[in-house]
Amino acid sequence: MNGHSGADAGQRFLHKDRFPCLLEQLEAMGYSVIGPTLDQHAIVYDRIRSVDDLPRGWTDEQQPGSYRVRRRTDDAWFGYVVGPHSWKGYLFPTPVVIARAAREGGDWEFKEADDAPPKFAFLGVRACEIAAIRVQDRVFLAESYVDPIYEGRRTRALIVAVNCEQAASTCFCPSMGTGPRCTSGFDLALTELSDGFVVEVGTAEGAALLATLDSSEASISQLRAAQAARRSASEQIERSLDTRGLRDLLMDNLEHPRWDETASRCLSCANCTMVCPTCFCGSVEEVSDLAGGRVERRRRWDSCFNIDFSYMNGGHVRDSIRSRYRQWLTHKLASWNDQFGTSGCVGCGRCITWCPSGIDLTEEVLAIRGDAPVSEGSS
C-alpha cells in the first residue's frame, strides 16, 4: 500500500537536528517561546532560548502530595507529564495593573492600563492543557464579559503541542474527555521519537510555520512509532473519575459527612487552586501612594480557599475549611457546568500532586458516591 491512511495523512517528520530552526523561526516571527525547563527541582514553564533549555533526559514522578524529578534512562526532550506551572501564568498573569488614576490639581484622571500584550509561543502544551485553555477561554472571552488582558495574550499566542507518551499516577484525562492525545486546539502538535518529531498541523499558521522548516514526509514506520508512543500514555493511566450524574450527585450531597472528614485534612492553603490550569479567581485592590495622589488598580490571583475571598460587609460567607473545600469541589465538578457549560476539571491531576495533604478529588467523589443517598448515578 502506498501513502498513509486516515488521520495520519499529511504528517511530517522534523529531525531533532532541525528543531533549533523552529525556535529561531518563532523568535524571528516575534514570539517569546515559553516551554518546559528544569528549575527549582521541577519541570516548569519558562523562556526557552535553545534546545539546551529543555528538560532533556528528565522526567517527573507524581503521587498524591508528592512530586520528584528523576533522570530518565534515555534523552527524551519532552519525557515528563505536567509540572507545577500551567499556561495560565502567561495568559492570566499575576499581578497585573488594570487601571490607573492620578490627581492633577483638583481633578482625577483615570487611565486604562497601557497593556502591550506579549506574543507567546507555547511549546510543549499537553492535551489536558489545551482543554484547560479552552475552559479559560469560556471564562475570559465568551459573551459580553471579555477580559482584555487575557484576550490580548490569547489571541496572539501560538500553540505547539506535544503529545504525552507517559502518564503520572495522578492523571485521569480520559475520564474528562480531554486527552491524552491532542486532537485540536493547537497550531502544531508533535509526537516525540528518539531522533525527531512527527508533526501534525492544526491551523494555517501552523502550516505556514512548518513550511519554513526542513521537514520531510513522515514514513510509515515513523507514524507507527508515534502511534505506539502515544498509546503508551493511554495505557499508563490508572486513575479515573466517574462523571455520570456527577453534578447532581454533588449538589444533592451538600451535607454529606465526607465534607467534614476532608476538612480535617484540607489545609485551606489554596495550592490546588493555584496550580489548577482552569481556576481563574483573582482579587482586585487599589494601591495608592502615601499622599493619595496616584492610585493603581491591581489584580492578583486569589482563591476560594482564602478565608477573606468571601468576606463581605458583616463577615465571611465561607467561614470554615469544610465550606471552602465544598465550594471548590462543587464549583469545579458541578456548578461550573451550569455556569460555563463544561466541567471545570480537565483531569491533569495537579491538584492531587500539589496538595500537601495529598487530597485526591477522584477519591472524594468516590467516597460521596459510595454511600450517597439515592441519587442519579448511584446504583
Binding site: 527549582q40 521541577a42 489545609l267 485551606s268 489554596a270 501612594d289 502615601l290 500539589w354
Partner: protein
C-alpha cells in the same frame, strides 16, 4: 493637622521599628504625612502625648512594662502592635514553657539584679489593641499600608491567607511537595512575600498562624515525611510559638516523654 505618631518599644530587638526607618523610599513621605512626636530610635526630640497613633513593638515581660503599656494605651487614640513579639509574645515566650529563673541563672552573672515576669505575653493580653501587624520582622510595605489606611480612614489591607498563595503568585515551586522540605507555609499567614521557599527553604512561620490554620493537618503530613513529633513541636515554637494555634498544636505534639528535652535542647 497631621496625625501625631509615637513609637514605643517593649521586650524586643528593635528590628520592627527599624523597618520603618528602612523604608527609605517612603520615609520622607511618612515624615510629611505624620507628625513624628515620639520615636526614640529615630530622634531625641520627644514630645508628650496624647498621640493619634501609637506603634507598639515588643512583648510584656516585666511588671514595669505591664504598667507602662497601660499608660501608652491611655495616651493613644489608635494603638497598633507591630511584630511577632507584640502580637504573639516573640521568641522570648519560649520561657512560658520553662522555669524562667533557669534562664536568668544561665544568662546573667548577677541573677538577683533581674526582676522579670515568668512569662512573655503579647500586648493584646494586657490592653485593647486596634490593629495587629504580624511578622518577625514586620514587612515595611505592610507598615506603609497600615499608615496609608490610617491617613485614608479605611481598614488596613493585610492578608490572612497562607504563604502558599504568595509562593504560587511568584512562581515558586512547592518545596514541601517537590523536595519533602519541612515547610510551615500552608498554615502561616502571608506577609513576607514568601521569601524562604524562593531560596529553597521551608517557611519558618515568621508571620504566625494563617486564619483558621489546620495545624493538625499539616503536622500529620510532616510526621508522614519522618519528622518526629518533638521536632515538629519545636519548629512551631519559634517567633510565634505562643500564638494560640501554634501553642495548642505544639503542646498536643509535645505531650509525651520528649517534651521537655526537645524544647530545651
Amino acid at each position: 493637622m497631621k496625625p501625631k505618631l509615637a513609637v514605643f518599644k517593649f521586650a524586643s530587638c528593635d528590628g520592627c521599628q527599624l523597618s520603618l526607618l528602612d523604608a527609605e523610599d517612603h520615609l520622607l513621605a511618612v515624615a510629611g504625612a505624620l507628625d513624628i512626636a515620639f520615636f526614640p530610635e529615630a530622634t531625641s526630640r520627644m514630645r508628650a502625648g496624647p498621640y493619634d497613633v501609637a506603634l507598639v513593638e515588643g512583648s510584656i515581660t516585666t511588671a514595669h512594662d505591664a504598667e507602662r503599656i497601660r499608660a501608652v494605651r491611655r495616651d493613644a487614640k489608635c494603638l497598633i502592635t507591630i511584630g511577632a513579639c507584640a502580637t504573639a509574645g516573640g521568641i522570648q515566650s519560649l520561657k512560658n514553657w520553662a522555669d524562667h529563673t533557669d534562664f536568668i541563672r544561665a544568662v546573667y552573672a548577677t541573677p538577683e539584679y533581674i526582676a522579670t515576669l515568668a512569662t512573655s505575653t503579647p500586648i493584646a493580653d494586657h490592653v485593647h489593641v486596634d490593629f495587629e501587624l504580624r511578622g518577625c520582622p514586620i514587612n515595611q510595605y505592610q507598615l506603609i499600608e497600615v499608615i496609608q489606611s490610617l491617613l485614608a480612614g479605611r481598614r488596613p489591607r493585610t492578608p490572612s491567607h497562607s504563604v502558599c498563595i504568595d509562593c504560587k503568585r511568584r512562581g515558586t515551586v512547592c518545596v514541601l511537595v517537590a523536595r519533602g522540605e519541612p515547610c510551615l507555609g500552608p498554615v502561616t499567614q502571608a506577609g513576607c512575600g514568601a521569601i524562604c521557599p524562593a531560596y529553597d527553604r521551608g517557611c519558618y512561620a515568621c508571620f504566625g498562624p494563617a486564619a483558621q490554620a489546620n495545624l493538625a493537618g499539616l503536622t500529620a503530613r510532616l510526621a508522614s515525611d519522618g519528622m518526629r513529633p518533638g521536632r515538629i513541636a519545636q519548629s512551631l515554637r519559634t517567633f510565634n510559638g505562643y500564638a494560640p494555634a501554634f501553642r495548642e498544636e505544639s503542646d498536643r505534639l509535645a505531650d509525651g516523654r520528649d517534651r521537655v528535652d526537645e524544647v530545651r535542647r
